[in-house]
């Protein structure tokens, strides 16, 4: 039950207002920079490249005025799972495709277990990438209101309109989803209270009383869908009454503006990304 309390204050993406350089960047520039850096770190498996990329990401998050502790705060509950997965990766992935000039040293070979230095490198590089991506994701969601990210995406997809990509509609779907999360959360809370008053115990139980728990949850989920469909019917009528007829010919209140600083940021990151991709096989270790 307490899981659902205060759900209407649910925050997705947690925008942290601020006035840093990163906050002021145009959402389109931010999305581009994050995509470029993600690409760079996806293709690099060497220690040196990942150290450099990690340093770059740490610099960015510092510039945004957000602490690394905050970025990684969600990770703690998942830590045992991450460690277990990493150990499995280490134990069974003895011969991964790591591009490295280092010689491969076999630490242990026993049955299916095969531990090598390149397996270790894969695990460590994966963890570094994970931290990088946590930071890059946080740069998007913690320094930009989510609606502005949707507008940024819309503007970036607009040139593909000729190919049939409905940029404006996709952005409106994002906005509607954001708008309806708190409303449906509130509805869920009401449904949960109604079920609880009828004696259903939601959340209690555990695995061995799975059928009761599963049934209690189904009793919540099915009405939640039906409520959402009912709201959708009303919203369709209301949007038609407000002259919505698709994205064509629409204007927008929120206008995004690219400054020279955005251009420079994109340029630097593009050069870095190209460099990291071009020289991905040339890093000494």
């Amino acid at each position: 039950m307490q899981d659902f309390a205060l759900l209407r204050h649910i925050t997705i993406g947690q925008y942290l207002p601020g006035d840093s350089f990163v906050h002021r960047m145009d959402p389109r520039a931010k999305i581009t920079v994050v995509l470029l850096l993600s690409l760079a770190l996806t293709v690099n498996t060497s220690y040196l490249a990942n150290i450099l990329l990690l340093a770059l990401c740490l610099g960015l998050i510092r510039a945004a005025g957000i602490s690394l502790r905050y970025v990684l705060s969600g990770v703690r509950p998942a830590l045992p799972f991450i460690i277990a997965l990493s150990l499995m990766q280490l134990a069974f992935y003895g011969n991964p495709s790591v591009t490295s000039r280092l010689p491969v040293i076999t630490f242990l070979r026993w049955g299916p277990i095969f531990i090598t230095s390149s397996g270790l490198q894969l695990v460590l590089v994966s963890l570094a990438r994970f931290v990088d991506l946590m930071i890059l994701a946080s740069i998007l969601t913690n320094t930009t209101p989510l609606a502005h990210l949707a507008y940024g995406l819309e503007d970036m997809l607009k040139p593909f309109g000729r190919l049939g990509v409905p940029a404006q509609e996709i952005s409106l779907i994002f906005i509607l989803a954001l708008r309806f999360v708190p409303i449906l959360a509130e509805q869920l809370e009401t449904l949960a209270k109604a079920q609880a008053s009828r004696g259903a115990d939601i959340g209690a139980g555990g695995r061995w009383r799975f059928w009761r728990t599963a049934r209690a949850m189904l009793v919540l989920i099915v009405p939640l869908f039906l409520d959402a469909f009912r709201r959708a019917e009303e919203l369709i009528v209301a949007m038609e009454a407000r002259c919505y007829a698709g994205g064509r010919g629409r204007t927008r209140l929120v206008q995004l503006r690219m400054g020279w600083a955005d251009g420079i940021a994109i340029l630097i990151c593009a050069l870095l990304a190209v460099g990291f991709i071009w020289f991905r096989k040339s890093f000494p270790f």
């Binding site: 989510l146 708008r179 708190p182 919203l235 009454a241 407000r242 629409r250 209140l253």
Partner: protein
């Protein structure tokens, strides 16, 4: 006639018309709404009042008969968007008609759809939010506002399309009394400023605020006239299962006991207090009905 905004001629409507299980909802309605009028449409559930309202802005199209808005036929698809801009509509549940994640972005939705460019767009949003008294809350997410405030956001969203007419389809029925008063105050102010108001409601106290009341029953107009005329017809109202506003009921009870005739019939609390004061009604001592 230039000052006629909406003209309804012999309107018939059935859900799933033409199919064997068609459900008739409107059976021959003719009426006109003049520019600047304040009309209430009342009737109990199933009387067809919401169905009628949805014909005013082409959300529903007649099965038979015609609806004209500023002489434009609603069944002509070329006029649909123009008609919806002229006749704005506010619905029952504010949550299911607000689109934006911030108040100002929602208010901009209508004019954005009309293709209003900047800076006129921002000016419209400001004007609409000022009109409902929510300019200061423009950067708030709508779900953190009160019910009355949310419904005022919905009204602002319609006002930003600069409509000539505002249709309130049960727009206060989900609100608490304080929020309802808040919304009605905004509506009265808009009416004074020249906006035509059509209020669909089952609250008779609210209908009493209008200049004209149209009572629907079984998809037909059962009664029509000023609040005074409508609420004086006690027998007819009883047949239609409608209860006059509380002040009118009280006044009639006093009339019946004291023999004093109130004319006009007081329909609001203020009017009742005034009437009782003016007549200095001598209530019988210890009088209990």
């Amino acid at each position: 006639m230039d000052d006629i905004l909406i003209r309804v001629e012999d309107l018939h409507f059935a859900y799933r018309a033409g199919e064997p299980d068609a459900v008739p909802a409107l059976n021959g309605i003719s009426l006109t709404i003049r520019r600047g009028e304040y009309v209430a449409i009342v009737g109990h559930n199933g009387s067809g009042k919401s169905t009628l309202a949805r014909h005013f802005n082409a959300l529903l199209l007649p099965t038979r008969g015609k609806v004209y808005v500023q002489d434009m036929d609603t069944s002509d698809p070329r006029h649909t968007l123009d008609i919806r801009r002229i006749v704005g509509m506010v619905f029952q549940d504010p949550d299911n008609q607000i689109v934006g994640t911030l108040v100002e972005e929602d208010v901009a939705f209508g004019p954005e759809n009309l293709g209003v460019p900047q800076p006129a767009l921002a000016q419209r949003v400001e004007k609409a939010l000022q009109a409902v008294g929510l300019w200061e809350l423009r950067h708030r997410p709508p779900h953190l506002l009160s019910g009355g405030q949310r419904q005022r956001v919905a009204i602002a969203g319609v006002l930003a399309m600069e409509p000539a007419c505002l249709v309130l389809d049960e727009a206060t029925s989900m609100l608490d009394p304080a929020s309802r008063a808040e919304v009605l105050q905004v509506v009265r102010r808009l009416h004074t400023a020249g906006t035509t108001i059509i209020a669909i409601t089952h609250f008779m106290e609210e209908a009493a605020l209008a200049e004209r009341i149209i009572v629907l029953a079984g998809g037909k107009i059962a009664l029509e006239g000023s609040p005074q005329e409508v609420f004086s017809q006690r027998e007819r109202l009883r047949e239609l299962r409608l209860v006059p506003p509380t002040p009118a009921q009280l006044a009639e009870a006093v009339q019946a006991r004291s023999g004093v005739a109130f004319s006009p019939l007081p329909l609001t609390r203020e009017a009742l207090v005034e009437a009782v004061h003016a007549h200095a009604v001598p209530l019988p001592a210890g009088g209990r009905p």
